[in-house]
């Protein structure tokens, strides 16, 4: 019964969900947004420190969620740190297509492999919103919106 599930819950995901990276509220964050998934009631906050030229100097998050949403948030914070706002949005776009099954792969340079870890979500349509919650919040934070939701 667990074979398909190993595709979804890869070791890396379980590891990130149990030990989320950048799970903190940085004092010097200058952008933040609240993400809410009305399907399950999960909430998380994403904090960004944006520098010159839209550079993401620091990314962190806090909140509650399932393994998929925590792992996705955790990996996202690692990946977008050091990227520009535009780069982060392009990644979000590609990532969304990937987990929705609209594209089979994502071309994200060095980050490709890490993002592909979540590709298994496409077989679980009801979990797509879990995987994208933090990304929606990140995008809202950059746009100066306080609320993001996966509706």
């Amino acid at each position: 019964m667990f074979d398909d599930l190993r595709e979804l819950y890869q070791e890396v995901i379980l590891d990130h969900s149990k030990h989320p990276r950048n799970f903190r509220h940085p004092d010097d964050a200058n952008h933040e947004a609240h993400g809410y998934n009305p399907l399950c009631g999960d909430t998380l906050n994403v904090y960004l420190k944006m520098g010159h030229n839209g550079l993401i100097e620091d990314a962190a998050f806090e909140g509650k969620g399932c393994a998929i949403s925590l792992a996705s948030a955790s990996m996202m914070t690692e990946i977008i740190t050091g990227k520009t706002e535009t780069e982060a949005k392009v990644l979000f776009d590609g990532f969304q297509k990937l987990v929705k099954g609209e594209e089979a792969t994502i071309d994200a340079g060095d980050d490709t492999e890490r993002l592909m870890v979540l590709a298994g979500v496409k077989e679980f349509p009801m979990r797509v919103k879990c995987a994208t919650l933090a990304w929606h919040a990140m995008s809202s934070a950059m746009d100066g919106e306080e609320e993001a939701s996966t509706e």
Binding site: A67, I68, F124
Partner: protein
């Protein structure tokens, strides 16, 4: 597995075609009955026949099919009237679901009877469908919505309720059974205390109708609602029972065909009885299907269904209780066959996805009862809810799957 002497669950399961399906290569253990129940063949046949044998719009028609369709539709009303022991057919109104039934009462009764400062009493157990309609009408009338709290077991706090009841209380709207945690509320006492205080009472019977005999004369509620799809009937149909003397005085809810007496641009007068509240072409075939569902359930009988479901509940509670990480949410003394639980360090959504691969269908999330979730300080739970067609094998599948979850994340 011989659950009961005169109740043959294996035979009953054969009446439900979907129960023999496999999901991900595993036999389906359908434990999401609280969200919606499966339909017996008898209901599917009644639907098909209503469409391919006697279909036409009801009322007003003198031709054969219209007449046949009307007889089946109105016959279903009588089936339901008899089943719930309503005093007259005019007390049985067909709506699209329980949510609409509640909105109808909130809007029609509420608008005519609520004023600034009046109070509407609900409880923390309520489904959103028995909260939001009252918030909407409260906003329009200046009335105030208050919630009777529940204790740590998920019991309705009756003493607090008595304190909250007062001359300002105009409406009490409480669930008969909590969809999220299974608590059966003491509706008899709730209703008589409300009546003593001069309030009218709506009981949300959405979760009670599938599990127990409901008798309007014995219960004495002013309004009682339930929804077709949870009592083994079609989607798209709900029931509003209301006492005739109240319904008579209420203004119409929606306007349109069939609910009028005479229409002119200057002045329109309305039909009497249930028609006043049934605007437009009704859910004809859904009503007929619901009638067939009620007939089917009555061939089994709630006297048999009750003990069978309670034995499943006891068995599941005991088995799940043996799993370390499992915490059962809601342990009221009187419970219907609904178990909500969480697992230490594992999110309900992950539980749901994993047990699904074992063929086990349970619901995970807030169950449209966020105030209740807030009370237990969880965002979501996993919920297994049993119908009379579930058997011990379903419970075993659930328990095995939940153990698998623990192992998987262990």
């Amino acid at each position: 597995m011989n659950d009961m002497t005169t109740f043959d669950v294996e035979k009953i399961r054969k009446d439900f075609p979907i129960l023999s399906r496999e999901i991900h290569g595993m036999p389906l253990a359908f434990l999401d009955n609280g969200a919606s129940a499966q339909k017996p063949k008898a209901v599917l046949d009644a639907i098909e026949k209503a469409y391919d044998h006697t279909y036409a719009n009801v009322h007003r028609g003198v031709h054969y099919l219209s007449q046949a369709s009307t007889e089946l539709y109105e016959g279903a009303r009588e089936t339901i009237r008899a089943h719930i022991n309503a005093a007259s057919l005019d007390e049985v109104i067909f709506t699209k679901n329980a949510t609409e039934s509640i909105n109808l009462v909130a809007d029609s009764y509420g608008r005519a009877n609520l004023k600034e400062g009046d109070e509407i009493l609900l409880s923390t157990l309520e489904h959103h469908s028995n909260i939001v309609p009252w918030q909407l009408i409260a906003e329009k009338t200046g009335a105030v919505v208050k919630a009777v709290p529940i204790d740590e077991h998920g019991e309705f706090m009756f003493d607090t309720y008595l304190e909250m009841l007062g001359p300002k209380t105009k409406i009490v709207a409480v669930t008969h059974i909590s969809n999220a945690i299974g608590t059966i509320t003491p509706i008899d006492e709730i209703i008589s205390a409300a009546h003593d205080a001069g309030a009218v009472v709506l009981i949300d019977g959405s979760q009670a109708a599938p599990h127990m005999q409901i008798d309007m004369q014995a219960i004495g509620a002013d309004f009682y609602v339930f929804t077709g799809h949870k009592v083994f009937g079609p989607t798209g149909i709900g029931i509003l029972y209301g006492k005739e003397e109240l319904l008579d005085k209420m203004p119409p809810y929606q306007g349109g065909g069939d609910m009028i007496r005479r229409v002119t641009f200057e002045k329109t007068t309305f039909a009497k009885g249930h028609s006043k509240f049934e605007a437009g072409t009704p859910p004809i075939v859904q009503a007929i299907g619901l009638g067939a569902a009620i007939d089917y359930v009555n061939t089994i009988g709630f006297d048999k269904i009750g003990p069978h479901e309670q034995s499943l509940l006891a068995y599941a509670t005991e088995q799940l209780g043996q799993i370390n990480s499992v915490r059962i949410i809601g342990q009221a003394k009187q419970k219907a066959s609904i178990i909500s639980f969480t697992m230490e360090g594992i999110h309900p959504h992950d539980i749901g996805t994993i047990v699904d691969r074992g063929g086990v269908a349970i619901r995970v999330g807030h169950h449209c009862a966020q105030p209740l979730m807030d009370h237990f300080d969880v965002a979501a739970t996993a919920r297994a809810s049993f119908a009379f067609y579930n058997n011990r094998a379903d419970v075993d599948a659930l328990v095995t799957a939940v153990r698998g979850v623990q192992e998987f994340f262990g």
